[in-house]
C-alpha cells in the first residue's frame, strides 16, 4: 500500500520561517489544492497573531489600555487560554508577556471570547502561535481526507498517518544532528538559543520572564506532544525549568530532551551521553 503513495511537498515563507507541507497521496491524484488550503490556514493564524502586523488581533490587544475589553476570534481565545494554563502550571516560566514586570497575567479571559486588559505589558504569542498554526494546517489536511501528511514550520513539526522521521540539530554544531525522532500522529517542537554565530539576528531567542535574561546559549530542547501548540510552549518551559518540568510534561502527555554539549538529558529525567563518534 505504501508503494502506491507518492509524496508531494511544498514550502512557503510564512511565520518568519520556511513552512513545509507534505502530503502522501495516491499516484495520479492532485494534492496541490489541498496543500494550498493548508497554507491558507497558516496565513490566517499569522494574520491574527503576528505582533508585527498592525492589524492583527495581537496588535489590537497591545493597543488596549488597562481596563479596556475586546472581543477576539475563537482561534486567539484558544491560544490565550492554553497560554494562561501553561503559564500557571509552569509558575510563570511560560509567559506571553515576558517583559511585563507584574506578577500574574496581564489579560483576564471571559466566556464569549471577551478579554480585558488588567495590567500593562506587550503580548507576544511567538512561543506558541507557530505551533497552533501547524495544528490548524494539520486539521485542515485531516478534513480533506488526506491519509498521511506532515507540516514543518522551521522545527515545529506535526505529522499523521505514516511515521515521519526528523533530525534534531546539534545546538552548537549546526552541521551535526544529535537525534532522530519518529513522529506518528503527534508533534515535535525544538527551541534553542543557538550560538550567536549561527543565529545572528537572535530570532527565536528565549528569555527568562521579568529578568529578560537570555537562556543559556548552546542548549536546545525538543518536546514531543499530541499537539504542536503544546509542544511549542513546553519547549520554553523545559529550557527554563529543566528537571522541574516533569509534572508539566505528565499533565500534557508530553516528553522531551535537552541537548547541551555532548550530553542529552531526557525528560522525565534521564541522562544520556552521545557516543564518541559524535565528535
Amino acid at each position: 500500500m505504501i508503494s502506491s503513495l507518492k509524496i508531494s511537498n511544498r514550502a512557503r515563507p510564512l511565520l518568519g520561517t520556511i513552512v513545509e507541507i507534505g502530503v502522501h497521496v495516491e499516484a495520479g491524484l492532485c494534492s496541490q489544492e489541498v496543500i494550498s488550503k493548508a497554507f491558507e490556514q497558516i496565513e490566517c493564524v499569522e494574520r491574527l497573531m503576528s505582533r508585527f502586523d498592525r492589524d492583527s488581533e495581537v496588535s489590537k490587544i497591545n493597543r488596549l489600555n488597562v481596563g479596556d475589553e475586546l472581543t477576539v476570534s475563537s482561534d486567539l481565545m484558544r491560544v490565550l487560554k492554553i497560554s494562561c494554563e501553561i503559564s500557571t502550571l509552569s509558575g510563570g516560566m511560560f509567559n506571553i508577556s515576558p517583559r511585563s514586570v507584574v506578577d500574574g497575567d496581564v489579560l483576564k479571559l471571559y466566556g464569549n471570547e471577551r478579554i480585558k486588559r488588567v495590567h500593562k505589558g506587550l503580548i507576544d504569542l511567538g512561543g506558541i502561535a507557530k505551533g497552533y498554526a501547524v495544528d490548524q494546517a494539520i486539521e485542515c489536511l485531516k478534513r480533506a481526507n488526506v491519509a498521511s501528511a506532515y507540516v514543518n514550520a522551521g522545527g515545529d513539526v506535526r505529522a499523521f498517518g505514516q511515521p515521519h522521521e526528523i533530525f534534531v540539530r546539534h545546538p552548537s554544531e549546526p552541521n551535526k544532528s544529535v537525534a532522530s525522532v519518529r513522529l506518528h500522529n503527534n508533534a515535535l517542537a525544538t527551541s534553542a538559543n543557538y550560538d550567536e554565530a549561527i543565529n545572528a539576528d537572535q530570532s527565536g531567542m528565549v528569555v527568562y520572564p521579568k529578568t529578560v535574561q537570555r537562556a543559556t546559549a548552546g542548549v536546545s530542547v525538543s518536546v514531543m506532544a499530541p499537539t504542536c501548540m503544546v509542544a511549542d510552549a513546553l519547549t520554553k518551559c523545559m529550557l527554563m525549568l529543566q528537571e522541574k518540568v516533569d509534572p508539566l510534561l505528565h499533565q500534557f502527555d508530553a516528553r522531551g530532551f535537552l541537548v547541551h554539549g555532548n550530553q542529552i538529558t531526557s525528560f522525565p529525567r534521564k541522562i544520556n551521553t552521545l557516543s564518541s563518534h559524535a565528535n
Binding site: A11, R12, P13, I18, E20, V178, S180, L274
Partner: protein
C-alpha cells in the same frame, strides 16, 4: 521511563547529504510553479530582465539589497490574450542556506504568491565552492536538479525567511524600474 522514542545519532549532516539523505529539497519545477500560480490555461512569454551595472546600482538604491545576477528570469503571463501578471524566479544566498523561489506578480506588480522551488541548507563550504554554485546559475526551465530522492527534515533549523524578504524587495524594485512601464 523508556526513552526509545528518539534515537541518538552523532552523524554529521554533511555525511548524510553525501549519502543521499540530503538537507535540501526540491519542491516544484519551474513549470509546476507556473501552472500552480497562474493556472493551466495561462501562456508564458519569457522576457528576462537583463541587469547591467547601472541597473544593479539602481535596484540596490531602491531596495537596499545588492544584486549579483546578470539576468532575472522573468515571464510575462497571458490569459485569454490579456496580461495576467509576471512570473519571476529569484534566488537568495544566505550564510547557511540557498533558496530558489518563484514569485507571482499581478499585472500591476502586486505580490500574488510566493513558492519555494529549491531549498538547500549548507554551512558555508558549498556556497564558497564555485562548482557547486554553477549548478544553479544559468538555470533554465529545462533544468532539473538532482538532489537525491529522499528528503529529510531538520528540526531545530534556523531557517530564516529574512533573506527571502530581502529578495522579494529586490524583485519589487526591479519590477518598478524595468517592467512596470514596459507593456
Amino acid at each position: 521511563m523508556n526513552d526509545d522514542w528518539f534515537k541518538l545519532i552523532g552523524v554529521p549532516l554533511a555525511t548524510l547529504a553525501v549519502a543521499g539523505h540530503v538537507c535540501a529539497a526540491e519542491y516544484l519545477t519551474v513549470e509546476q510553479a507556473q501552472k500552480l500560480m497562474f493556472g493551466n490555461e495561462a501562456s508564458f512569454k519569457q522576457s528576462d530582465v537583463k541587469l547591467n551595472r547601472a541597473a544593479k546600482k539602481a535596484i540596490k538604491a531602491a531596495s537596499g539589497v545588492s544584486v549579483e545576477r546578470r539576468i532575472l528570469p522573468t515571464w510575462k503571463v497571458f490569459d485569454g490574450g490579456e496580461l495576467s501578471g509576471y512570473f519571476i524566479i529569484d534566488e537568495v544566498i544566505g550564510k547557511h542556506d540557498f533558496i530558489t523561489y518563484a514569485i507571482a506578480l499581478s499585472p500591476v506588480g502586486k505580490i500574488k504568491q510566493i513558492e519555494i522551488l529549491v531549498y538547500r541548507e549548507n554551512y558555508g563550504y558549498e556556497v564558497r565552492n564555485p562548482r557547486w554554485r554553477s549548478q544553479f546559475v544559468g538555470y533554465d526551465s529545462g533544468t532539473t536538479l538532482d538532489l537525491g530522492e529522499e528528503v529529510k527534515n531538520i528540526s531545530g533549523a534556523t531557517m530564516s525567511c529574512r533573506h527571502i524578504t530581502e529578495g522579494v524587495n529586490r524583485v519589487l524594485a526591479t519590477y518598478d524600474l524595468f517592467l512596470k512601464n514596459q507593456q
